[in-house]
């Protein structure tokens, strides 16, 4: 399988994000994820609006459901949802809330918002695909550095590493928002449990692409995408 550049959403994204209003509270977390999402959907993920139900599609799970403005904008840029949906974020008739709902938004794999659920669901998704002989799809799950504070993630990190769940890639967007930080670095928490890891500049698209496709056999893979501090 070769990964091809499917779309360059750069030109459309700024305008789409401007259409999303009313989500200022979570703006920093939205902006911290934009580059990772853009590289994933433009260059990495094998999923299109026509294949959202295809068992062979790649899965992208947004665990860090806060501030999904960038996520919605990317979904619109790639045709999963109409642009017009962006104009009424969290309105009474809107399908787009401040946290995404998989039952309401095409292309959204999991409903999220409460922190600490996406990685466990991603582990189960990877296991379920493997059990059905679906070895092509990769499962990507995006978390925040503060979300890693939730203990449920540590159950998943230890288990995925111990069992060598190599179809799984976790992406941690590190904007230094964890209350006590991560002494020794985020990657060390994963690698000590058997993961491979790349830590890159979360604004550098080529570095992100290399890291997001840099998984190795027999190990789950971690990408730490460092961005400017949430402040």
């Amino acid at each position: 399988m070769t990964t091809t550049l499917t779309t360059d959403s750069s030109a459309r994204l700024p305008g789409l994000i401007r259409r999303l209003t009313g989500d200022e509270k979570h703006a920093p977390s939205a902006h911290s994820t934009i580059d990772v999402l853009q590289v994933l959907y433009d260059r990495v993920l094998r999923v299109t609006p026509d294949s959202v139900d295809d068992p062979e599609r790649d899965r992208f799970l947004l665990s860090k459901g806060h501030g999904p403005a960038a996520y919605y904008a990317v979904l619109a840029a790639h045709g999963f949802i109409p642009d017009a949906w962006l104009d009424d974020l969290a309105g009474p008739e809107s399908r787009l809330g401040h946290h995404p709902d998989r039952r309401l938004v095409p292309g959204v794999e999991i409903s999220s918002g409460s922190l600490g659920h996406g990685l466990g669901l991603a582990v189960g998704t990877a296991l379920g695909l493997r059990a059905q002989g679906l070895h092509k799809p990769r499962v990507y799950v995006l978390l925040g550095d503060a979300e890693l504070d939730e203990g449920s993630n540590h159950e998943a990190i230890a288990y995925a590493g111990a069992t060598g769940l190599d179809s799984l890639t976790a992406v941690v967007v590190d904007n230094s928002s964890a209350s006590y930080g991560w002494a020794g670095g985020i990657a060390s928490r994963f690698t000590v449990n058997g993961w491979t890891a790349d830590t890159v500049n979360g604004r550098d698209h080529d570095a992100l692409y290399a890291a997001l496709t840099g998984h190795r056999p027999r190990h789950p893979h971690l990408v730490v995408a460092r961005t400017e501090s949430k402040g």
Binding site: R103, G120, V123, G124, T125, G128, A131, Y159
Partner: protein, 297 residues
């Protein structure tokens, strides 16, 4: 019941490639043989109950039918938010199978007791089917039935059991019919035998169900007289709201018997706890007699 669960689940894993089992170390050794045959579908995540339910949710998202299993207090109480979000909110189902119901773990103390589990499912809305079998043969039937659907189902196994099995008792099944307008006594799961013994000689209708959710409200309306008694093996009053809603337009009185809310901080065996909670035959007879005799008596 635990043996029936292990045997039936083992057969399901062999027969149906859609079935998957998720464990958190509990019962792992009993499932080791089938795990060697189906390593991709028998998954022990270690002592990680939050992950167990998260994994079940992920498996279901890919189209498999996960069965997750542990002691009730770890499976339900501890992982409650995962049940709410990783299954319910995702819109996917699983079969959750608990052991150690209420005071089965009497000698283990409060850490291994979960009398409030069914009430927790009530807090999730009306999507869940809750099965409380009273006999191992009911377990076999209910588990096979659960494995063929995509619905969210909780199967609550106990070491307490009745003499006879009634696999078809998803709806209220009348086991003793009283006279016209006789009080209705509803026994759930393993409370049937003590309820039958307690009401010996009373003019009451005794009905049994192993499926309190969804509660057979149509049967309740058909059978209920002025007086209704609930005898449930979990927290007392768990089904009171269902009965009150169902009979909202009918004058009635309700006595709800079950496990008390207080942590007794005592060990002993399950029979001791049944006695302390008034759920043995003598205790039930005292409560029911007092209730039925309290009008004009």
């Amino acid at each position: 019941m635990r043996t029936a669960f292990i045997d039936t689940t083992t057969a399901l894993l062999d027969e149906d490639p859609r079935t998957a089992l998720v464990l958190a170390d509990i019962s792992a050794s009993q499932f080791a043989p089938v795990g060697r045959r189906h390593p991709d579908r028998v998954l022990n995540v270690g002592i990680r109950e939050q992950l167990m339910i998260g994994v079940a949710g992920g498996l279901a998202l890919t189209g498999l039918r996960p069965i997750a299993h542990s002691y009730a207090t770890f499976l339900v109480d501890r992982a409650y938010e995962q049940i709410k979000l990783d299954l319910e909110h995702q819109g996917v189902g699983a079969v959750l199978v608990s052991i150690g119901a209420s005071y089965d773990g009497s000698a283990e103390g409060r850490t291994h007791q979960s009398p409030g589990d069914v009430a927790l499912f009530d807090s999730l809305g009306d999507g869940w089917t809750v099965r409380v079998p009273g006999h191992p043969d009911e377990v076999r039937t209910l588990l096979r039935d659960a494995a063929t659907s995509d619905d969210p189902i909780y199967l609550r196994l106990s070491e307490q059991r009745n003499t006879d099995a009634y696999p078809d008792a998803a709806r209220l099944r009348v086991l003793r019919r009283g006279g016209a307008n006789a009080p209705l006594v509803v026994a759930v799961g393993p409370m049937l035998d003590p309820t039958v013994a307690a009401t010996e000689g009373m003019d009451v209708t005794v009905a049994y169900t192993h499926t309190p959710r969804p509660f057979d409200t149509r049967g309740l309306r058909a059978l209920a007289a002025t007086d209704v008694v609930l005898v449930e093996p979990y927290l007392a009053g768990t089904s009171s709201a269902v009965v009150s809603r169902t009979l909202a337009d009918v004058p009635h009185r309700l006595l709800a018997l079950g496990v008390g809310q207080t942590d007794l901080r005592r060990y002993g065996d399950p029979a001791d706890h049944a006695r302390w909670h008034g759920l043995d035959a003598d205790g039930l007879r005292r409560s029911i007699s007092a209730f039925l005799g309290s009008l004009g008596g």
